[in-house]
Symmetry: C2
Subunit: 429 residues, 2 copies
């Protein structure tokens, strides 16, 4: 066994970074055995150097992340700062100075993954980022490596713990969105500004990364259709229950039936209670993968938090250190399939539509005609009348999003349709 | 990209082997892109050469597996024969002749894993075997690699599809064991001789492999406590339901609370319906992993079948080929922790015990005294009387298996205890 240690530069020492440093210290012997050489924390770049950082020697602390990365003796840079800059420049600098990189930065990977992979490849360095999607759940490695001999057709997952906590709370208690969000905030599951979570930005970044890996195709953040979950109501949950469903915010990456294109999207959807994703509770994440040969797989675990994310970072660190010792690199970006990414209008799925209509004869016939004219086939209709008003719940067969959008626009123009109360996709059947 | 193909020798061409050959042919371009070089099927060793094998050139077929392995130009040997011999000799011969090995052979790995790993290491070759445990579910790689920076404390899984199908059927229909087994046999889920599955031998082999990887310790098949599920009754399921539980055949590998030893066991157990493993239906497998940093993870998917197993084999094949091209090998056996494996008597868990007792005053006091004398603390007791006979259902707090065994022996000696109807462990709480 080699005795000269591998040197690690840690960029960021917040919830995740401090846990990475802690495990590197407390599990040092273990890591040495697994890697085949000792690893040493060579420096920790922080913004606030005055803060007490238990277990980290004060002389390792620096505010100059760039100088740390440029030292020239660093083997692996662990980037847990988050955000686009300075993380992006620090990572490319790391490659230039001969270091591999482990990152937990989903926003950066989703936005600039292709450029970062290219930089890693140019300098023959590794770029690993298991922690960027679904926290501790080993997901990127299985997709990139275990299923490497298989053909993935769909990746459908709950990849945001905050919104799953809120939706689970609404489902189990009948609470409205705001009430459930308030509880999530009080318990620390939601940030003061929950926009990134509840509007689906966080999930969309993860969907872009997952789609890219699953389909060997570059999928940019802009390619991902995104709809948040702030308009999901207690009434929607009641409707879902009647259908034997619950509602989850899903990231769905699909290969088209003809195999020639892919789509990626994030939106709330009804899924049957019998689907394995339906029973994912609280802030847990889970990703359901369908492939030609392996069939249906699911990966489940905590999607966030300091320790789980640190576990994923450490797993990557071990792999990168092992690669380094053997003078090789792991699998880089794989975008050879280069499939076109289709717009949302091409997505085919089922829909659950609630309409407020006038309670008089002929309304159902009018509504049904609009669906038929747009080529959207109706599976079931349920009509409930009260005080001259009625509600009509339509569940469709599979139809394209474009056809459904056209249908809804036409429905809104009908005199007898007072309003479209909700439109929700139905997945996982 | 290198153009000289990597040569693969396929040993065995049954359900799994033929599917491996098929995917290698139909996904050739894909595999080339993922590996960085083409892979070529160089030979297929079979027992019955006369059988028609669609898609495999007849000149590749041979009955002389040894000669194929000894050709000297083989890069990777894929062993899907199963059983101990000739698989073991063929694998060690492959290493001697400069080939790496991908195997799906759980029985061989469980029995001779240490020797095979040593042979691989001696010749600087890879030995991969993702398909040996839980079919297509990426499990060995996440445990060996993704969680490499973490400390695993428990692995608890449903690793045999046949028995899960039977137990699920008993649970959902109220059928008895024999009736459910007959249906499993008729549907092809159980073999004509189901012993290896229903007596837990298959699950025990997988438990040995999983425990070894999870705890970096050699765990032999003999170290695994094994109890089949042939004595689980409809009455047991009724009792489980009353406790909000179901019954699964579980493989459980645990690190002792003090961290100084490990245990591995296979037996039926009650688990709460709220546990993620409780909702694993039909012939699916799932493995629940608890670690220090990552927390609770679950891996779910099909545990058997030609395509799923072939998917796992192909994933390994890609990894081994990539290693070969870069002149490196993946992580070998990791047994550095070398923890002692404790006997079943040391395992601590809860128990559900049904006793047939005389329906007269003082019986409960007598029974309770026996539990107390053996240091087993009672959580709940439920007594039901009918016609001079009564049944007593005792659920204990956590106690060692040795203490429980002593308790049961003493209970059997009581005049007032007519019989011990069932003893079942309660896990996952």
């Amino acid at each position: 066994m080699r005795t000269r240690p591998l040197k690690v530069a840690l960029l960021g020492c917040g919830v995740v970074g401090s846990e990475v440093a802690r495990i590197m210290t407390t599990h040092a012997d273990d890591l040495t055995a697994r890697i085949g050489a000792p690893v040493e924390l060579a420096g920790v770049a922080v913004r606030r150097p005055d803060r007490v950082r238990e277990g980290i020697a004060p002389e390792l602390i620096t505010t100059d992340a760039t100088a740390l990365v440029k030292r020239g003796d660093i083997d692996v840079v662990v980037e847990v700062i988050g955000g686009i800059e300075p993380a992006r420049t620090l990572i490319t600098t790391a490659f230039e100075y001969g270091a591999s990189v482990v990152s937990a930065n989903k926003a950066l990977l989703a936005q600039d993954g292709a450029a970062l992979h290219a930089a890693a490849e140019e300098h023959d360095e590794d770029l690993y980022y298991e922690a960027a999607v679904a926290g501790a759940i080993p997901l990127i490695r299985p997709l990139r490596e275990s299923l490497a001999g298989d053909k993935i057709n769909r990746v459908m997952g709950i990849v945001n713990g905050t919104t799953n906590f809120i939706l689970d709370k609404m489902d189990s208690t009948g609470a409205g969105y705001q009430e459930a969000l308030d509880e999530a905030t009080a318990l620390g599951y939601a940030e003061a500004d929950p926009t990134a979570d509840v509007e689906g930005f966080d999930a969309a970044a993860k969907a872009a990364i997952l789609a890219g890996i699953a389909f060997h195709t570059r999928v940019r953040l802009d390619d991902v259709y995104r709809e948040g979950m702030t308009e999901v109501t207690a009434a929607d949950f009641a409707s879902a229950k009647e259908m034997g469903c619950t509602i989850k915010l899903l990231a769905i990456c699909e290969r088209a039936a003809d195999g020639g294109s892919v789509t990626a999207r994030v939106h709330p959807a009804m899924i049957p209670l019998s689907h394995p994703l339906a029973s994912v509770r609280g802030a847990y994440n889970a990703v359901f993968v369908e492939s030609d040969a392996a069939g249906q797989l699911m990966f489940y675990g905590p999607g966030a938090g300091g320790s789980p994310t640190a576990s994923a970072v450490l797993g990557d660190l071990v792999a990168v250190c092992r690669n380094r010792l053997s003078g090789s690199t792991g699998p880089g970006e794989s975008a050879y399939a280069a499939l076109p990414v289709s717009p949302m209008g091409d997505v085919v799925t089922r829909y659950h539509i609630s309409l407020d209509v006038a309670d008089k004869p002929g309304v159902l016939a009018q509504v049904a005609t609009v669906f038929a004219e747009h080529g959207v086939s109706i599976d079931t209709v349920r009509q409930q009348g009260k005080d001259g008003e009625a509600s009509l719940v339509v569940v469709t067969h599979r139809a394209s999003d474009a056809a459904l959008t056209g249908t809804v626009e036409a429905l809104r123009k009908l005199d007898t349709v007072r309003g479209v109360a909700s439109i929700m996709r139905v997945e996982g059947e």
